[in-house]
């Protein structure tokens, strides 16, 4: 990572990835609710892009999620690389047929004759007081459908590099953006200019350590790094592995880290039951059972809808003291 790179907020890194993708390939276009000027999207992620690339390529749609994803599927089959924005991840519920039955299965059902190189960008997550229908992390729904790739970045540089890879991937990719990261100054970071891609399926060891492995992704990576820094003061060495993409999954990096530390805690925002951590824990136990010092722990969103009141909403989220406690349970 170069110090010469400009520091950008997470949201601006995504904007830059979209801009670069449209500049290098005329087959890339964006569609979604409110994404064109004058608003540039409800979170301003697509700010300026319709002025630069035209409203033919930055297309405002009706509030019609099935039509948004469906149109992306059709155009993708014809060789375009559409990037569809589903404003809030919970709205996947109203277009899931297009996502799973069509985007996810068309390559297979057609015997590889038709492919669906599209991205669904969606913002997600609790912390903004939006209540139960605008705050969920639902990546497990999509991980459960073979045929779709899933990426969830934690830093601006990862967001840009992974989104560029997602757009130029030949499979549909769900790209999850936790809205609490968008314009948070603490999350802003150096981002390489230009068309710099990070391959899907490569985890990133965000902090090296030897006593315990934290396996996480997205916003919770920052919580894990904070806990690691705190415990370092006590001489506890915590490795933080940011998965970055869940499909494909970098099992090699995960297993190497856990084999080294013999202890793992999985941290994610989605509810625990049938969450991605359940799958990950199972795979680790299957592969490394005899090497583990203690059972794999999970720290996740609570098994409730996301509540409105700020104290309840905070309690819903995985908290740093919970991560710390989980580590101490297995040390």
């Amino acid at each position: 990572m170069s110090t010469d790179w400009p520091t950008l907020p997470f949201g601006m890194a995504i904007n830059q990835a979209l801009d670069v993708a449209m500049s290098v390939d005329e087959k890339v276009f964006l569609l979604g609710e409110d994404i064109a000027e004058p608003s540039g999207g409800v979170y301003k992620i697509t700010k300026g892009l319709s002025d630069k690339h035209g409203t033919n390529r930055v297309r405002k749609t009706p509030i019609s999620e099935q039509a948004i994803v469906g149109a992306a599927v059709g155009a993708a089959i014809c060789g375009y690389r559409p990037v569809a924005e589903i404003m809030i991840m919970d709205f996947l519920a109203v277009c899931l047929d297009q996502v799973t039955n069509h985007a996810g299965k068309i390559r297979y059902m057609s015997g590889g004759q038709t492919t669906v190189p599209m991205v669904i960008r969606t913002s997600a997550g609790a912390g903004r007081g939006f209540g139960a229908q605008h705050s969920e992390l639902l990546e497990s729904w999509i991980v459960h459908t073979p045929g779709i790739k899933v990426a969830i970045p934690s830093t601006p540089a990862d967001a840009k590099g992974l989104l560029l890879s997602a757009i130029f991937d030949d499979d549909p990719v769900l790209f999850v953006e936790q809205m609490m990261l968008y314009w948070n100054p603490a999350v802003a970071g150096p981002v390489p200019p230009g068309d710099v891609r990070i391959p899907l399926g490569l985890a990133d060891v965000k902090a090296a350590g030897s006593d315990v492995t934290l396996l996480t992704y997205g916003r919770q990576t920052h919580d894990c790094l904070a806990v690691a820094a705190k415990l370092a003061e006590e001489g506890i060495s915590v490795e933080v592995v940011d998965l970055r993409s869940l499909v494909p999954l970098d099992e090699a990096t995960i297993m190497a880290s856990v084999a080294k530390t013999k202890r793992a805690v999985i941290v994610h925002e989605a509810v625990g039951t049938c969450g991605f951590g359940a799958e990950l824990s199972s795979r680790i136990h299957e592969e490394l059972f005899s090497e583990l010092a203690k059972p794999v722990q999970r720290v996740t969103g609570k098994n409730t809808p996301v509540p409105y009141a700020s104290n309840l909403e905070s309690a819903f989220l995985p908290q740093q003291p919970e991560i710390e406690a989980a580590i101490r349970r297995i040390l």
Partner: protein, 326 residues
């Protein structure tokens, strides 16, 4: 002129397509009844004239989308019979290497782009094909087929509205066969004429007798010409009657016997055949020749499919992703 009456070549082309559909359907049903083949089969019998009517106007680079009851559309768009039969029988030589089956026939070389098993799900996808043509500056047209039942799903509204808003070259063809699965459409549909729903999206909506090939040809011709000229989408409701149940083996207790008998007695393909001879457009020998050559082609396709192997087991893991899945 797009809306002119069909010339002799078009009349015969429609007969040829109808005959291919009818004879293939008869072969599927007879082989199913005799136990020679086993598969879930949705007969398109009764809907032949609709597919023939639009297909007579399409080029091979135009796009067609259809549904699980799609054999007539597959044949009309020109999917080769050998690969079609092989796919229906789950063989490696099928259009989709045996991995899609009848509900997911895909053959881009013929322009048959999507066959979906989800009622109406092609409707929101069709605007994507239209958008691709519009963005690329081609004059390709997309014909999106679905049934009366699909006109009641939410995606119908979203897809037609988007196509209208973006002025896309899509013709939405509602093949109203009077039954959505086991339920008469009038019992579950707020309007008598589904074509009337076009008005709700600011697009032309037309209802046509789907058993009148000339009328279908004219209506489809106009709709396809509008789309090709960049004048936007059209909703066409073509009304017919589904001769058989929702799927083969269905006891059809929900279809009044007299109603079905009357529809089958007025078989649109046979009626059209008689009309062509009566009007002097074709001779008995000419039409019989089309029928016998089609039968020979079907014989060959069936044998090809029967003789073909099932896919290799390794195919289970291919085509999940661009890379081989684990």
């Amino acid at each position: 002129m797009a809306n002119s009456t069909p010339d002799r070549a078009a009349l015969l082309r429609m007969f040829e397509i109808q005959t291919r559909i009818k004879l293939n359907d008869e072969r599927f049903r007879s082989m199913l009844m005799s136990g020679q083949i086993q598969l879930i089969y949705y007969s398109p019998r009764g809907q032949e004239c609709i597919s023939a009517g639009y297909a007579a106007h399409l080029r091979s680079d135009d796009y067609v989308i259809t549904i699980y009851r799609g054999l007539h559309d597959h044949i009309a768009k020109g999917v080769p019979l050998k690969e079609l039969w092989a796919e229906f029988l789950g063989k490696a030589t099928g259009t989709c290497k045996g991995k899609g089956g009848p509900m997911h026939i895909t053959h881009p070389a013929s322009g048959l782009m999507v066959t979906t098993g989800i009622v109406g799900a092609g409707i929101p996808i069709a605007p994507g094909f239209g958008l691709a043509a519009q963005l690329s500056g081609t004059d390709q047209v997309t014909v999106c087929n679905f049934g009366d039942g699909a006109s009641n799903i939410g995606a119908f509204h979203e897809g037609l509205n988007l196509a209208a808003v973006w002025n896309l070259p899509v013709v939405f063809v509602c093949q109203n066969n009077m039954y959505g699965e086991h339920t008469p459409y009038r019992m579950v549909t707020g309007v008598e004429f589904i074509g009337d729903r076009g008005a709700a999206y600011g697009m032309p909506g037309v209802t046509v007798d789907g058993n009148d090939p000339v009328a279908v040809y004219e209506v489809m011709g106009e709709a396809i010409a509008r789309a090709r000229a960049g004048e936007g989408p059209t909703l066409v409701e073509a009304r017919t009657y589904r001769f058989w149940g929702h799927l083969m083996g269905d006891a059809m207790e929900y279809m009044p016997k007299e109603e079905r008998k009357a529809a089958m007695a007025a078989d649109p393909v046979l009626r059209y055949r008689g009309w062509l001879i009566e009007q002097g457009h074709a001779s008995e020998d000419e039409l019989a020749g089309i029928e016998s050559s089609t039968t020979a082609e079907i014989d060959e396709a069936v044998q090809f499919a029967l003789d073909s192997p099932q896919p290799e087991l390794s195919e289970l893991y291919t085509d999940v992703y661009a890379e081989v899945a684990k």
